[in-house]
């Protein structure tokens, strides 16, 4: 049989080629697509598990688009009041908005409807989570350095937009929980000085809750925000192609090359297959795990609310920030109300966002390094950056934990007041502690790397020398393993030099002290002389 197929194919393949050939020719003559294939078909992509986080984000977004389109065919974005007459008995006869009614119908009267709702919601959660992790990966490996600063900014805006998508989508079913979320937004907006009252009035089309906001959020959710997100994702990916992907340092890898697999066929198979895996995992979660059971909450009503209700986790940090404000931060001055219990969290969170957004430019200013960086840093090899990141994560995590303060209190049987005070402490002092610890750990790891590069691993094997002395045999690394430990970027603190006029500008002085703070503690990389010497031992 197998010998048959080996001899037979010649004419067969010729016939096949001519069909595909004809089609390709037809298309190419009208699109010059062959140039695209030539340019990108064999483009090399490096391999590493952490590079898949961004892929997860991209693929879950595609799943969101697919499942979301399905949902729009059935959803009514209207706050017109209707009487529920669907299959879910406990709510029968209740008055609710058409939005809630149709969301319930999707859940209980359309085959696969609940599945699609849950696919959509799980995919959205995965989308935001994977963007967050992807950003952490980018940050801690220094992938944001030149020439990728702008792509960091784009990615960051995408993160904010994704949260906007999440919040608007969460609000659409007009159930009790999402209505309460809107209520909080309304209160927040009203607390903004000068324009707050009017912004709320315009957003809700009158007094809260009004009969407009669901329709307006729907437009944002399915038209405006997705359009911007799609455009920015496209731009984000164009930049990935223009810059070529970063890679971790390793044998054979330099700042001037990319080592990996070509798009066609290996990368296409792996990445394409990975899309189906992500989609499949989301489908599994949607099949097994209920998410956002609006039928348990009931329609929105401004009066009832239950204890322990929480926003979707990605909004948690903002909710937590509100909870941490001590009592009494509101004043009347010149007949106007200054709600610092709202202004302060808004300003602090806004500031945090701006700091994260601008970090690449800050670091570039400190190092003064104008070179392109395509080799990633291992986090330990950039101790101060890693420590700043750890501080930021601690800050965010404290706010996030604060959003569950009531649950923490009941779970650990603590007084609410104590939980809040502890979290106020960790929010303010925690980042400093985290900074210190992370930096120490990084430097310790660097030292260890240096030891291992020079003397190898401790093998645990003890031998007795002819002279009677006992030593532990060190297992030397091979040169490829060792290179991973040796190859990293290094900076020294800035030395202040007078400028042409013989003066030292204050900007220089500031930069020098920041630079000292950054690079004072460093571990020297191993030199080849040292290596040689150690190998003679």
């Amino acid at each position: 049989m197998s010998s048959d197929t080996r001899t037979a194919p010649a004419p067969q393949r010729a016939a096949k080629t001519s069909v595909t050939g004809a089609v390709s020719n037809y298309i190419d003559e009208r699109t010059s697509i062959s140039a695209v294939v030539k340019e990108f078909g064999r483009k090399i992509f490096p391999d590493h598990w952490s590079f898949m986080l961004g892929e997860v984000a991209l693929y879950s977004f595609v799943v969101i688009l697919i499942s979301g389109s399905f949902l729009t065919f059935f959803f009514q974005a209207s706050m017109a009041e209707v009487e529920y007459d669907g299959s879910w008995v406990p709510l029968k006869g209740l008055e609710m908005s058409a939005a809630m009614d149709s969301a319930l119908n999707i859940s209980f009267d359309i085959r696969g409807g609940l599945l699609m709702r849950q696919v959509h919601h799980w995919a959205a959660l995965l989308f935001i989570a994977s963007i967050g992790l992807h950003m952490l990966r980018i940050y801690f490996t220094g992938a944001f350095r030149k020439p990728r600063e702008l792509n960091w900014v784009i990615g960051f805006i995408l993160f904010i937009l994704a949260m906007g998508e999440g919040f608007t989508g969460y609000s659409l079913p007009d159930d009790l929980l999402s209505g309460n979320g809107l209520r909080i937004i309304d209160g927040l907006i009203k607390g903004i000085p000068v324009v707050g009252t009017w912004i709320s009035y315009l957003l809700f089309g009158g007094e809260f809750p009004g009969d407009q906001v669901i329709g307006r959020f729907y437009t944002l959710h399915i038209l405006l925000l997705p359009a911007i997100i799609v455009a920015l994702i496209a731009l984000h990916l164009v930049f990935v192609v223009v810059h070529k992907h970063t890679q971790y340092p390793g044998p054979g890898k330099t700042n001037d090359n990319v080592v990996g697999y070509p798009i066609l066929p290996v990368y296409a198979a792996k990445a394409g297959g990975f899309f189906f895996i992500v989609f499949g995992v989301i489908a599994l979660m949607a099949a097994f795990f209920t998410i956002n059971p609006i039928w348990n909450y009931g329609p929105y009503d401004p009066s009832p609310v239950s204890a322990g209700t929480q926003p979707d986790w990605y909004i948690g940090f903002a909710d937590g920030a509100l909870r941490l404000i001590p009592p009494g931060w509101e004043f009347v001055l010149w007949d106007r109300t200054w709600s610092f219990n709202i202004i302060v969290p808004l300003v602090v969170l806004g500031g945090f966002i701006v700091v994260v957004l601008l970090y690449p430019f800050f670091e570039a200013w400190v190092t003064g390094d104008k070179r392109e960086h395509h080799l990633l840093d291992r986090p330990r090899n950039a101790p101060t950056r890693t420590a700043i990141g750890a501080a930021g994560v601690t800050f965010y995590a404290s706010l996030w934990a604060a959003a569950s303060s009531d649950i923490i209190a009941t779970h650990f049987k603590m007084a609410m007041e104590h939980v809040i005070h502890i979290l106020q402490f960790t929010t303010i002092v925690g980042p400093f502690i985290a900074f210190f610890i992370a930096k120490r750990i990084c430097i310790a790891l660097q030292k260890k790397d240096r030891e291992i590069a020079l003397h190898g691993y401790e093998s645990g094997r003890i031998v007795r020398l002819p002279g009677g002395e006992y030593i532990e045999v060190h297992q030397q690394l091979d040169e490829y393993e060792r290179w991973k430990l040796l190859n990293f970027n290094e900076y020294q603190p800035l030395m202040i030099r007078p400028n042409a006029a013989g003066k030292i500008s204050s900007a220089q002085r500031v930069r020098a002290s920041v630079s000292r703070w950054f690079f004072e503690d460093r571990i020297e990389p191993v030199t080849s002389k040292e290596l040689e010497r150690s190998s003679h031992h």
Binding site: T254, G273, G328, W329, N341
Partner: protein, 359 residues
């Protein structure tokens, strides 16, 4: 922390690291005698490269997965028909969701795992190397770009004809302005939002009724330690029910009269220890729905503000600042609880213009 040798071996990183262009490396340093990159490690063949049987096995495995995917897709369609949603039967919804979901997941995961395995085990796995080029255009390209702009400027007179250019800028600034005004009608034009926030449905003689039924409450119904969720009578019939409710919702409690600390001017706001407070949190507006009977504290579930009913709902913890506004109540001729008047201050979250209404 530098080792003793480091000082002499250190030189500022030179430009050659960056594509031979003269780019500042800032404060970066390199060791003069840094160890050499050993180059790519030797290629290690996989079992599928060495053992034709393993290769065949992998191939069969992958194609099996692809067939399995077809099974999953068909399974989803079968589940769609075989597990219909039966009205009033939530279990049928669960089954329908579960099996359609599982089948779709099977179809997708099989394709995914199969393709990845094909890529990993069967496709040629020789690593390729691409050379990077600086992101900036070459000097020639950049010069040409500058020249194009210069030519365009000359040909259009963009910088020469100042009047023309500046008037165009003016037009560009002006043309989006109408949009701002068009958005004014997002909300009705004839109302002042601050004024709307000032009033609720409560007025003299309006009965306190149960939420949501709307049945009136006799003073004798309110026993010590009980709490009622209250709406004004007639709320359910109003046109803007939710908007009114979002302002007028009230919590009614009875305390021992001697437990109440009543401030001057509010002596007749409670009725024999029965007090009514706005249920809308003065922080950002959640319903303050949790009443602790022993301590007479109200707790807001959103950010844990606590209000002390014994002391006219003053804030004892949490981010809220102002006490919950009190609704002055009494009883009517039939013994039903009624409001004496509207709240004396706006209820709910703070807003900019609110200060005007404070005493």
């Amino acid at each position: 922390m530098a080792n003793e040798e480091g000082g002499t071996g250190l030189v500022p990183a030179d430009a050659s690291v960056s594509h031979g262009r003269d780019v500042s490396a800032g404060t970066a340093v390199v060791q003069r005698d840094l160890a050499q990159n050993p180059g790519l490690p030797p290629h290690r063949p996989r079992t599928t490269d060495l053992d034709p049987k393993a290769d065949k096995r992998s191939e069969r495995g992958v194609s099996l997965l692809f067939y399995l995917s077809i099974v999953g897709s068909i399974g989803a369609i079968v589940s769609y028909f075989a597990l219909p949603i039966v009205p009033d039967d939530p279990a049928s919804v669960r089954l329908n969701t579960l099996f359609i979901g599982l089948s779709i997941a099977l179809a997708l995961l099989s394709i995914g795992i199969g393709a990845v395995h094909w890529g990993k085990a069967l496709m040629a796995d020789h690593e390729g190397i691409d050379i990077r080029h600086p992101t900036r255009g070459t000097d020639a390209t950049r010069e040409r770009a500058v020249e194009i702009f210069r030519e365009a400027d000359q040909e259009s007179g963009f910088n020469r004809r100042k009047l023309l250019r500046n008037s165009l800028f003016g037009a560009f600034i002006a043309f989006p302005l109408p949009a701002i005004f068009l958005f004014r009608d997002l909300a009705p034009a004839d109302n002042d939002p601050a004024e709307l926030l000032r009033h609720t449905m409560w007025e003299e003689g309006v009965r306190l009724t149960r939420d949501p039924e709307g049945t009136p409450i006799k003073a004798s119904d309110v026993t010590l330690g009980s709490a009622f969720h209250v709406i004004p009578e007639g709320l359910n019939e109003t046109e803007h029910k939710l908007e009114e409710k979002a302002k007028a919702a009230v919590l009614l409690m009875r305390l021992k009269p001697e437990d109440l600390n009543v401030s001057p001017g509010r002596e007749d706001w409670n009725y024999q220890g029965i007090v009514a407070y706005s249920k809308i949190c003065t922080h950002v507006g959640c319903p303050v729905a949790l009443y602790e009977q022993q301590t007479h504290h109200l707790l807001c579930p959103c950010h844990q503000s606590q209000f002390d009913i014994k002391n006219e709902a003053e804030v004892i913890f949490g981010p809220a600042k102002r006490p919950l506004p009190q609704l002055p109540i009494t009883i009517d001729a039939d013994g039903y609880l009624v409001a004496r008047r509207d709240f004396t201050e706006p209820v709910g979250p703070s807003f900019w213009e609110r200060g005007e209404y404070e005493q």
